[in-house]
Each structure stands twice: as C-alpha cells, then as structure tokens.
C-alpha cells in the first residue's frame, strides 16, 4: 500500500507537471497578444503588478531598438524615463536588439503574436510586408501638427506607403564616401573626386603612397552591394528607379552597366587586403575599423558611419579627420549626379499598440529629443529643427548634399524587400570574387527575382 500510494503520488506529480507545462504554454500564448511580452518571466511580472495595483490608467508597452552602443542605450533609458514622468501610469519596457538580429526577431514576434508595441522601422518592402500582415499602425492623422511642421515636407517619404505614414522617422542616412583627410593629405590628394576618372586616379595615388584606398566589408555582403546600388543610382534614370518596386525585371541596360562599373572598379583592386573576409563593423579589423585606425582611406556607407567609426578608434572618440564626399558621377549616366541614396531609421507602433504609443512617437520627435537622438547615434536628425546639433564636418557635408539632392532614393534592399536584397548581395559578392562577370551577376539577380 505504501509503495502504491508512493507511486500514485509520483503519478499525480507527473500529471501536475504536464498540466503546469501545458497551462504555461497556454498562458504564454494568450497573455502575449495584449501586452506584447517576450518572455514568460516578464509576462508573469506584468500580470502580478496589474492585479495588485488595478489602476485604470496603467499601460505597459514594450519597445525594441538597435542602439547597442552605450550612448544610444543611455539616450533611450533617459528618454523613456522622461516620457514616463510626463505620462503617469505608462511604463515602457526597453529591449535592445543587436541590429543584425532585429529583422528576424521581429518576424518571429509578429508570427507569434508578440509584436513589440514600439519598434525600429526602416520602411520600404519590409514595411509593406508588415503592413500587408496587419502589423503596423497608420499614424498619419495622429502625428502632432507642430511635429509635422518641424519635420517639413517630404521628411516622411521613406516611412510612407500610398500616402499614409507608418513610422516616425528619427534620422536620415544619406550615403557617400567617408574618408580620412589626413591620409588624403599624406598621399597628396588636394581635391575630392567628382567622377569615376578622378576617383580611380585618387585610388591609384593612395595605393602608390602605400595606403589601402577603399575599405570594404564584403563578408557581410551588404557593404559590397551598396557599391552596386550607388552605381545604379548614377547609371539609371529617375524613371527606372521610381518604377523599381512595381517592375522588378531589371531589364533596363543601366543595371548591366552598374554591374560592369562594379567589375571595372574591382579590376583596379582598390579594396583593403582580404576584403572578402572583412566584416563591416565589428572590431579593429573590420572595414570601419580600418578607417578608424588609419589603415584605409575611405569607405562607402550611410551616415551612421561617423558613429560606428567613433566606436572603433583607439580612444573611442570620433575620428577628427573624417570627411565626406558624394558618390562620383559616371560617364553617360542617366541618373542625376546630385541624387543621393539613403534610408531612415523610424519607429513604428504595432497595430495593437495602446494610444500611448503614438504619444511616445510624438514625444521623441520633439526638437530636444531629436537632438539627443542625433547626438547619441552620431547621425543626422529627421527633424530639421534639430539639425543645429550636428557639428561633425563629415555629417554636415552629407546633410548639405542631402538637402540639395535632386531626389533621394531608399536603399534597394529595403525598398525591394529581403529576397531581392539577398540576391543582390549574393550577386555582387560573387562578382567581386571573380566567379561571374557583370552579365552573370545580373543573371543571378534576375533568376532570384523570377523565382521569388
């Protein structure tokens, strides 16, 4: 009898464990939809606070951003604190997500119904996919009038779809060549390249002086793809670019020319030694690290570059000799030579987010917090009133070119979506490795688009 009851006890315990496990799952999936929690522990915590203090106004929101650097995390902690102080009852739980993991984590969360209430938004094809899945809030009519006025016309372009706005842009990221003026001086380059002829000449001059001309983080592929985007921006007419998302055939001759430009440049071997196994942003051996440590003269990047380089210099300070020039013009190109490639970091509310979410977006878009954002990320604020905070000479040059550009074009991988972006990355890297020629690279891309 004793042993029987002992067995019985064990069995009951087992059943209880199974039940607890099942209930745990159920609790997870039902609780997550409303509060947007990401972990079971977090979920239960919120539940207890909600039951013990049934304040009618209390709202908890989750917030995902990619500011892994110390300045950015501090900025968001302080900003959220200020917002919570101004809005009693609102709590925002911050989760910092490594940039490269963000898209995947968002996808998983959206699939699981645990979409964070506030999250980083880059716009384009990815935003369109989120929108089609009913995951993003339309904030067009919820943005404060004075914020709209401060931002100015066109500032919401990258975060809009069919005339509706789905994210609050915080930064603009014009692309160009960031270079170390000290190394240019050392090589004796006095005027910045404006076309490919003078660019190639500068590369030759730098190499003759024993300086690695261009840093390229081709292991991450996207930095290499940006060379293709920039050449395409110069080669292709505005019409072709404008119709890119509706017509993905890439049959205009300008695409082949852009690949050929990449191949021609590659033939001059302007890159750092071992560029195929160089990553973009991690450590002194990365492409940004090479520029930060005076090991390479320039790099093609968006305007996050001064911040990234600043984190990789020996003293952790921004590189004082960093300057900027626009991507060179190409002979016979159909694109406007002042046109600029770029993107924007914005913040979206999930479709199910409480109204306080839009309050938060309006809050961070104010001049004071836009300035703080630009400073924390070493980037250009989307709020034009906050532009005064930008003192870095390279960023100032980029901002000026951006404001005078005939038109601005969103990164192709963002506007075309992940699958084409992946195909372009692959095609360009294969081209740089010398395994296909320009026509072969174009075929790789077209095949991927046709299959998608």
């Amino acid at each position: 009898m004793l042993s029987l009851s002992g067995n019985l006890k064990k069995t009951t315990a087992g059943v209880a464990a199974v039940l607890a496990l099942t209930l745990g799952f159920a609790g997870c999936s039902s609780g997550s939809g409303s509060s947007g929690e990401t972990s079971a522990a977090g979920g239960s915590e919120t539940t207890t606070t909600q039951t013990s203090e049934p304040a009618a106004e209390s709202v908890t929101m989750t917030f995902w951003h990619n500011g892994t650097g110390e300045k950015a995390t501090t900025y968001w902690e302080n900003t959220v604190k200020d917002f919570e102080a101004a809005n009693p009852g609102v709590t925002i739980e911050i989760q910092v997500v490594q940039n490269e993991d963000l898209d995947g984590k968002l996808q998983t969360a959206m699939q699981a119904g645990t979409t964070p209430d506030i999250f980083l938004q880059r716009g384009g094809g990815k935003m369109a996919e989120m929108l089609a899945a009913g995951q993003v809030m339309d904030i067009t009519d919820l943005i404060d009038a004075d914020i709209k006025a401060a931002y100015g016309e066109g500032a919401f372009g990258f975060d809009s779809l069919n005339g509706r706005i789905y994210a609050m842009p915080m930064s603009v990221q014009p692309e160009g060549l960031w270079y170390n003026q000290d190394l240019f001086d050392q090589a004796g380059i006095t005027t910045n390249p404006t076309d490919m002829a003078s660019f190639n000449e500068a590369v030759a001059t730098l190499k003759a002086a024993g300086i690695q001309a261009v840093a390229l983080g081709a292991q991450d592929a996207w930095p290499a793809a940006h060379w293709f985007y920039s050449f395409a921006l110069r080669e292709c007419s505005k019409d072709v670019i404008d119709n890119l998302t509706s017509d993905k055939k890439f049959d205009d001759p300008c695409w082949l020319k852009a690949f050929q430009d990449v191949a021609d440049l590659n033939a001059t071997n302007p890159w750092n030694q071992g560029f195929l196994t160089t990553v973009a942003q991690q450590g002194a051996g990365s492409s940004a690290g090479l520029v930060a440590n005076g090991q390479a003269a320039m790099e093609l990047m968006g305007s996050w570059e001064p911040g990234v380089i600043g984190g990789l210099t020996p003293d952790g300070e921004n590189l004082a000799s960093l300057r900027w020039f626009a991507f060179p013009a190409v002979d016979g190109g159909q694109g406007d030579p002042t046109a600029i490639m770029g993107g924007s970091d914005g913040y979206s509310c999930s479709a199910a987010a409480p109204p306080a979410c839009v309050d938060f977006l309006n809050f961070i878009a104010q001049k004071e917090y836009s300035e703080g954002y630009a400073d924390a990320y070493s980037t250009l604020p989307a709020n034009s009133e906050a532009m005064g905070v930008v003192t870095d000479p390279s960023l100032k040059a980029a901002a000026e070119a951006y404001s005078q550009a005939a038109y601005a074009v969103l990164w192709f991988d963002t506007s075309l979506g992940q699958d084409v972006g992946n195909a372009v990355n692959n095609a360009v890297v294969t081209l740089l490795a010398g395994q296909v020629d320009a026509a072969g690279a174009l075929q790789l891309m077209q095949a991927a688009v046709a299959a998608g």
Binding site: M110, E129, G274, L276, Q418, N422, A451
Partner: protein
C-alpha cells in the same frame, strides 16, 4: 513517467516538422498567416538549384574526409593514451578541450586567425614564407581549412569515445596474447582493433550525422555569403541563406524537409548496412568458434 518527455518531444520536435511541411507548400515571408499556396514550387526550386546540390556535395565530402582524417588519428591517439605514459591525463584534457569550447567561440577565434591579415599568415611571414594565403575565401583552399578546423574541434570527442571502448576490453586478452609471444603492434592490430569495431562504428555514425548537420562553424567563419563562393556551404547553410536571409520562409521550410529526408536516408542506410552487423565480425562468433 514518460509523459512529460513525450509531450516535450512532440511539442518541440514532431510538431515543428509537420509545421515546416505545411509551410513548404506556400510562398510565405513570415509576416502573418501563409495564404499563397504554390504546391511543389519550393521543392522544384530547391531540387533544380545548382547551389543546393553543391552544398549537398560538400556535406558528403566533409563526412567522408572526417572519417578519413579523424578516424585514424583518434584510434592512434586512443591507443597511445591507453598506455600508462607520463602526463597522460594532461594530454587527455588538452585533446578534449577544443570539443568543450562552444562552436561560436571556436568559429570567431579561427575566423580572426585565418583572415588574410590574420595571425596565421603573420606567422607564416615571420618564418619566411612570404605568400599570403586566403585561407577562408580561396575556393581551392577553403574546404581544407574547414576540414582542419572541424578535425581540430571534434577529434577530442572521437578520442574519448575510443578510449572508453578500449578500456571496456578485458586486459586478460592482451595479456594472454603477450604470453603467447604477440608483439605490441600485433596485439593492437589483431585484438584491440577488432574489439574496438563497435565503438568505431558508433563514432562514425555520430560523425556522419554531425557532418550532415554542419552549420555553425561554416556560418560563423565564412559569414552569410562567402561560404557559397568559397565552396564550404552546407545544406543547413544553404537553408539559412535561401530561407531566413532572403525572407522566403516557405522555401526555407521546403529545403529543411529535403535536408531532413536526405539525412534520414543516410542514417537509415547506415543503420541497416553497417551498425546491424556489429555482432557479425566481433565478439559472439569468434567466441563461439
């Protein structure tokens, strides 16, 4: 008490397999429910992809070379370490350490050392070899680089397994042989090795399965794209690149199912033709004879 175990297994292993099967029939990008049914389209894409068969080939080459390199090295080291030699436990620990270190750390460490400007090339320059070898990106070298890292990482596991097998062999056998005048090598060749066969077969099975699943080291050392250029992409790497990275999760699911079937066939074939014959050549019959 099997209940919870079965529940966990069904929830986290069986159920996802069927979910992947379901998604593999859709063109699905991961946001919201899958609605665009395309039948066998994803399978057709996978099976007609040149790169996919390249990756499958790499898996099989890696499996074969792993057996070829690691097997003899592991057996020799195990025979050596089975002797009472000075510093035996220290050598055992040193051989086993790479296996214990996480793949991520091993991957990043070797990636940094093997870069064109990395420590390995710097060392070669120091000893007067003035040629820079692209260990990672040169397609002629890359697969051998991978094989070296894999062998370095996993040979310790094989050695420990073989040692355990050797220590399960009764000492009386070798003592009796020695009394009969057998030399050291004769004992190893004709007594230890045959009796070690079951262990070797189990190790080979684990090694083949590991080679079929290989992903992390390649992904970390070669990054998301260079692997397919350098010729080190594996089936799982191909799946990550064309499923996850391209946001084509339906296609990724189809690749996963194909990889699952290939691995299953390999595993079943091995069990049917090799593992089952354990008793044939080993103890029982000789004992009877």
């Amino acid at each position: 008490m099997a209940g919870p175990a079965i529940l966990v297994f069904v929830t986290f292993v069986i159920f996802p397999v069927f979910v992947a099967l379901y998604y593999s029939f859709y063109s699905w990008k991961g946001y919201g429910p899958a609605t665009n049914f395309i039948g066998l389209g994803n399978y057709k894409w996978t099976l007609t992809s040149h790169d996919f068969w390249g990756a499958v080939g790499h898996n099989f080459i890696i499996a074969a070379l792993s057996l070829l390199f690691q097997g003899p090295i592991a057996v020799l080291l195990a025979l050596l370490l089975n002797q009472r030699i000075r510093g035996r436990s220290l050598i055992r620990v040193l051989i086993f350490v790479p296996y214990v270190i996480s793949e991520a750390i091993v991957g990043i460490g070797w990636r940094l050392m093997l870069q064109d400007t990395g420590a390995v090339n710097a060392l070669l320059h120091k000893i007067g070899l003035d040629q820079t070898v692209s260990w990672i990106s040169n397609p002629k070298v890359a697969l051998w680089t991978l094989m070296f890292v894999i062998s370095w990482k996993y040979v310790g596991f094989a050695v420990i397994l073989m040692l355990a097998g050797l220590q399960g062999i009764p000492e009386e056998l070798s003592e009796a042989a020695a009394v009969d005048g057998a030399s050291y090598w004769q004992i190893q060749r004709h007594i230890m090795l045959p009796l070690l066969t079951p262990t070797i077969k189990v190790w080979a099975f684990l090694s083949i399965i590991g080679s079929m699943q290989l992903f992390d080291l390649v992904y970390i050392i070669w990054g998301q794209y260079i692997g397919s250029i350098a010729g080190t992409s594996t089936m799982a790497y191909f799946m990550a690149q064309n499923g996850r990275l391209s946001g084509q999760l339906g296609r990724g699911s189809a690749i996963a199912i194909v990889v699952f079937v290939i691995s299953l066939i390999v595993a079943l074939a091995y069990q049917r033709f090799i593992l089952n014959r354990n008793v044939d050549g080993a103890l029982t019959e000789r004992g009877m004879a």
